[in-house]
Symmetry: C2
Subunit: 519 residues, 2 copies
């Protein structure tokens, strides 16, 4: 009995040790595979830094506001040429009235999974007077607000802390260049792709992706895939890589209040004629407190509580509030002391601008005042319900709502009139962290950069992900690469060059390894 | 006894009737004197309409924002020439750093009273893009928003409803032209002036009359007079003439709130990073309700109650609220239904402009938001006390007040920072309606236009009257002439030509008659 027991015990141990050894060897082998790939990709980059940066600079030099159709077409031609140079079969996808999507396809022999990489080539409009250099004349500086370095002085190795300033330097042209450089590096090292690859380069993301649904429907077959990989948004504020599985939704409304039909002298009519700025400030103040809490009745009702896995992911990410506040010159943050990662899982109301009376403050009572409010939405909130709640709240404040410009007759009939112009938008979406593709992606990124990267259920920023879910029923994951302090959407948008180098390595790992570890 | 009684009774009646007859004859004679003068002045005007209008157009064509020193000097040269053409001895008054005041003097043989007529030749800054025609290229239209009539097509008699559009067409260049045309008309009719006349044409009224006090002090002897006659501001909204005996005071403050030191993506930081627009809207909303009531503690404490005479003057003026609301496209007015004339006797808080985020509403959290608030003050309120009350209120809202731009260290130390930049200003002042000069002026105006004109204790608009009281201890009265719907301080400022014709007649009456009836 005793000998049998010892024998079983011994055999068990042998089996266990062997299993451990095999497992360790496999993990090590995988990790070292990925590290070997990374090393070759880095070598390629070090030998081609100036070529890669020049490709980015050339792309950034093409203005890319969606309303500027002539330049949008130049972007398209340029992107098609960039794809075809790599032997990526390309075509332009378009629905009626839409800006073009640039599509590309690169098959991997033997691969049985297909990923679509998503980037957008359009950018936010600019107020050039606020920029230190021209938005579409890429310029190089040694840091944020640093001294300019002539682009002609570029020599390899380029300091990773230097930055390229231009509209869309970060959002979202540099991921396109990074992905193509990753392909170049793998081809140079003769490392095959592990997945079939499709490119989907959108042209109206910054204008609300109005035609996206029509394009996805029209080209549903062409766009068939096992996962969409979104290369948009910044990495974590600690400069650590970040993988996330969804994003907040977004919608917005332009709110206009009215005073007299012509501007009046504030002395002769002040405290008799209604002041549209006062009406607007009271209305905005009623919608949100200074601490970020939305005061619109019912606004939080549809919000889905976080799952336990999501909670753990947030708790496990580094807390950067103190550093961020120092960097941003803030003695406080909204949300009553809750940390950033927790707060961006909540819906938000952001007053994006406010305008009345021009920059020269004349002694006049203005005829109207305008503000654009942006909403960030979280899973389970719908656009329809949000609009209903907002309009009900505004009515409760005593306003009469119109959607067109009110003529003088309407203004004579209704005391407090507000015009609401709703923009397009889309809801939030999140992919389960438990899916095989989610796990495979987390493994490849861990093998590439170590375990210190950040995993988040949803990004604070918005991406038109819901449309992919609704139309194509394909899961989406997000692997951003640009620096967090990139002034995205604002003046002096920039890319920290080290983020480009890191992005190339991570994207190359994913292309080479994802198909191998995806069970 | 009875016969004596009858005799006394009879004599009394005779005396009384005789007195009445003399009084009636005098009044009639005075009135008919004034009417005879008016008739001659009108004849002169009818024969010289084009000359008068051309003189106005030439003056309006010279840009007149105080910061534009080159053009300010052109105005000065032009005005000096206009005065000297009439034999009015002129000189330029200047204190250190001040724009020039154009001074002129015309003595009336035998007159024992001296009046100074005040106008200003500078104008409010412009946003030319909002104007239908160029601000300093006077243009003629047949009504507000009417069709343009080439100035070269002008033929006498000119339709009084036509309007001249230009910066300062109303505020305040046309009274200068009207006063000089009145002098021309009297000279042509050989009617002597009844008062010694001085001109004081200021050049920085629209910039807060910063150097006025220094100039008045420096030239106190030269400016000695029995009354200052202010020719600024509009007539009553009924188009009736208006005489008033003071004006609201004015001060203003630029309020700036702060967010992060650089603009942030509203998705990645929305409801964590403080939003400066939200801070500003809450602050402004805390200072004043939508009905015009100022919510700053103690703000109404110093306000002097109206006297009985003042109350009667207001009650006796025509109620124009309903017509005004119709004209202005308003279904309501502030002040809980109180009439305009009553409300402008109260202090007012007017939000003059608000700015953040530019006209293009990007998806960003802004770095700062700014608003200029104007205060209109009434008798007994002091600038010092108003500033103290406003700053105390803002501190009570949890703000840390700075007066310069806060650097990043200050921003790291204080949660809610507000920058306050106080503009110059002056308190309100009112002259007693019981003074001999007040009574004489009311009599001359009544003789000229009948009893239907409006008498108001103070104007809603502001004039730097307190300085005259403080430095020169001379009473001030206000006799405006321009139309109420003149878009003063705003785009498309204009003068209704009939107001120019009426102004010439009233000013001529005052020059010819005031010294005669002033006891």
């Amino acid at each position: 009995m005793k000998r049998n027991f010892i024998k079983v015990w011994f055999v068990n141990w042998i089996v266990l040790l062997t299993a451990c050894l095999i497992s360790y060897t496999q993990t090590y082998a995988q990790k070292s595979d990925t590290q070997a790939i990374r090393s070759k990709v880095r070598d390629y980059r070090l030998q081609n830094e100036i070529t890669i940066l020049n490709e980015l600079v050339d792309l950034l030099a093409i203005p890319n506001v969606v309303s500027d159709t002539e330049n949008i077409q130049k972007n398209v031609n340029h992107l098609v040429a960039m794809l075809e140079k790599r032997g990526i079969q390309s075509q332009v996808l378009q629905a009626e009235g839409s800006p073009p999507v640039v599509f590309g396809e690169l098959k991997a022999p033997g691969a049985n999974k297909t990923i679509v990489v998503y980037m957008h080539y359009d950018g936010q409009p600019v107020n050039p007077e606020n920029w230190a250099s021209k938005p579409w004349q890429p310029s190089l500086r040694d840091k944020l607000e640093g001294k300019e370095i002539p682009l002609t002085d570029l020599k390899s190795p380029v300091d990773g802390e230097w930055r390229i300033f231009a509209r869309s330097a970060s959002d979202d042209k540099s991921p396109i260049v990074a992905m193509l450089a990753a392909i170049d590096a793998l081809q140079a090292a003769k490392i095959p792709l592990s997945v079939n690859l499709k490119f989907f380069l959108e042209g109206e993301e910054e204008a609300g992706s109005r035609h996206l649904s029509a394009i996805l429907n029209k080209y549903a077959n062409l766009l068939k895939a096992d996962v969409w990989l979104f290369c948009d948004g910044p990495v974590h504020q600690t400069r650590n890589m970040q993988v996330s599985f969804g994003a907040r939704g977004v919608t917005g409304v332009r709110v206009t209040t009215y005073g007299p039909v012509r501007a009046l002298h504030s002395g002769h009519y002040g405290n008799w004629a209604p002041n549209p700025i006062v009406l607007l400030t009271h209305l905005l103040a009623s919608m949100r407190d200074t601490d970020g809490k939305i005061l619109i009745e019912g606004f939080y009702e549809d919000v889905r509580p976080l799952t336990e896995t999501e909670r753990q992911a947030i708790a496990g990410s580094p807390n950067i509030d103190a550093d961020l506040k120092h960097e941003l010159g803030l003695a406080w943050s909204e949300g009553g002391g809750k940390r950033l990662e927790e707060l961006i899982m909540q819906p938000a109301l952001n007053v994006r601008n406010i305008q009345s009376g021009g920059a020269v403050a004349r002694n006049a009572i203005q005829t109207e005042a305008t503000s654009v409010i942006g909403f960030r939405l979280v899973p389970n909130q719908t656009l329809k319900r949000v609009r209903e709640l907002v309009e009900a709240h505004i009515r409760d404040q005593g306003f009469y709502i119109v959607h067109d410009s009110p003529d003088i007759e309407i203004r004579r009939q209704h005391a407090k009139i507000v015009r609401l112009q709703w923009g397009d938008g889309y809801p939030s979406i999140s992919t389960s962290i438990e899916l095989p593709v989610s796990k495979a992606l987390l493994q490849v990124v861990a093998e590439t950069v170590g375990e210190s990267f950040v995993k988040l259920p949803i990004l604070g920023g918005s991406l038109p992900l819901s449309t992919f879910d609704e139309v194509l029923h394909t899961p989406v994951v997000i692997v951003p690469m640009v620096n967090h302090d990139n002034n995205q959407h604002a003046e002096n948008e920039n890319l920290r060059i080290q983020n480009l180098w890191d992005g190339i390595e991570v994207y190359a790992s994913i292309l080479a390894r994802l198909g191998q570890v995806w069970k």
